[in-house]
Each structure stands twice: as C-alpha cells, then as structure tokens.
Symmetry: C2
Subunit: 163 residues, 2 copies
C-alpha cells in the first residue's frame, strides 16, 4: 500500500475541481493557488487522471479541466489508483510469490488489509466529500484567501506599473 502526498494531492485537486465545477473549466493555476500545490506537479498528476478518464481537458484561454462525469460517480479509490500504481498492501501485488516463489507468512493478512482500505475509499465519492461540513468550511476560507491574494497581487502589479 502506498499513500503519500502524491495521492493526497490528487484527491485534494479533484475535490477542488468538484467544488468549482459550476463556473466552467477550472485551470490548474487556480488549483495551484488555492491548494498550494506546484503547477508543474499538478500537470503531471492530471496527465495520469486524464489517462484514466477521470477528467477531461479544455485547451486555450478560459480552458482548464472538468470532471469527466458526475461527482457522485467518481470515488477516492479511483483517484489514488490513477496516480499511484496501486493501493495494494502486499509486496507481491497479490501474486503470492512474496517469498522466493512461495507465499510469505503474512501474505493473507496484507490481502485482507488491502481489501479493507480499498472498500473504505471506494465508498467515498467526490459528491460525499463536497457535502461534508469540514470540507465546506475549508473551501470557503480558501476561496476568500485566493481572492484576497489575487487582488493583493493585482495591487502589486499596479504599484509596480505606477512606481
């Protein structure tokens, strides 16, 4: 099982997408600003998300990404799977050849755990996350912050142009 910043970033970014999906495609630089994830890194992650048809891209000005289907039909497990290679807890990827061709002592334990984690994350859709109160609260703060910093940087630009 592998669950690092990579998978967390992917889920966070997808959730950001789900939250701002009403006003057309969402650009990666918007997500980068709101979520504090580097733009280039997001590009790498979204390349994988696109390959797994979790998102569709719109090129050109005003473009960005959109969810490929309804929020209720995209699950956290799918997102993590898309960017990591697997959510498997066994070392042998279920092949049971963990100990030189044979099954290792704890093989079945890790299989059970993998199932457990997968089941848990498979039940959580973006829709479900969007409706959570803790998510809404954080999202509201982020929207406010990004507007502030947007106007702040606008002021900086103006100041630079004037000064």
């Amino acid at each position: 099982m592998r669950l690092t910043t990579k998978g967390r970033y992917a889920v966070t970014a997808m959730l950001d997408l789900a939250l701002h999906t009403d006003s057309g495609p969402v650009s990666l630089s918007d997500i980068s600003n709101r979520q504090g994830i580097s733009l280039s890194y997001l590009e790498q992650l979204f390349a994988k998300l696109r390959k797994q048809s979790l998102v569709v891209s719109v090129r050109g000005p005003g473009g960005g990404y959109r969810l490929s289907r309804d929020r209720s039909d995209i699950f956290v497990a799918q997102i993590v799977d898309a960017v990591n290679e697997s959510v498997d807890a066994t070392g042998c990827k279920g092949r049971s050849d963990c100990q030189g061709g044979n099954t290792c002592l704890t093989h079945h334990l890790w299989c059970d755990l993998s199932d457990q984690i997968h089941d848990f994350l498979s039940e959580i859709s973006l829709e479900k996350l969007v409706k959570r109160q803790d998510v809404r609260q954080v999202a509201d703060r982020q929207d406010k912050d990004s507007k502030v910093s947007a106007s702040a940087s606008q002021e900086k630009i103006s100041a630079a142009l004037i000064g």
Copy 2:
C-alpha cells in the same frame, strides 16, 4: 500512511517468533533462514522492536529473542508502529497544518482513513494470526524447508571436511 516491506518484514518476523516460541529464544539467523530476510536488516528491525518492548533479548550462545508478553497481547498495529514512525495517513501527522499552517481540504478524510486502518490492525493479535489456517500451512512448509536446507548445509560442511 506508510506500509512497506519494512513493516511487513517486522510483522512476519514477529509472527515467526510467535510460532517458534516454545523451544526457547529464537535467533535472528533462524528467522533469516526461514523467512528469507537479511540478517543485518533483521537486526535493525529488532533494535526498534526491543525499544518498544515488544521483544526481549537473550545474549550469548543459545540466545535470541522472545516475545515480551503473551501472543494475545501483541497486535499488528503495534509492530508496524514500532518500525515505521507512524501508520498515519495524513501528511501533517494530525496537526492540521497541512496547507501552510491551515487545514487542507482533505485533512479529515485522511484522519478517517488512518483511524480505519489503525482499528483494523489493532484488532489482530499474533495469537489470532497463529491460529489462522493459511498461516499454519505456510509455517509448516517453511519448517520443512529450513530443516532440509539445514541438513543440506550440514552435508556440505561434512563433505567439505571429508573431501
């Protein structure tokens, strides 16, 4: 959440200990032979397991390691915790400062997942594992194999001494 070969090795080794606990202390080289884990690596892992008082050591010839307490009172979660730093799925270790001092969008999701995994692994004792049929089967095969290879290497030694 970090669950790699490290944690798997530790659990496997502890289970081996639990299975062979009747005939006195178990040496790391025995575990190394049976489980196919490098001796030096086992030493590193057991240093941590000892610090967490999961095992006690007996030095000198005939020495080795023993479980510090009953098999039913040692749980997989404790073992994984002892060798990895944590089984936490959040990046901020529960401090909620994932996004530059603030809570990130998906913080609570990872908290939930951490709890889920921890609960699952906290319920599984070594006792429980020892009684599982799949574990017994693998253990039987390993005991046979190690005896064969032990007598084989004994023969090699004899052959070397004679030849």
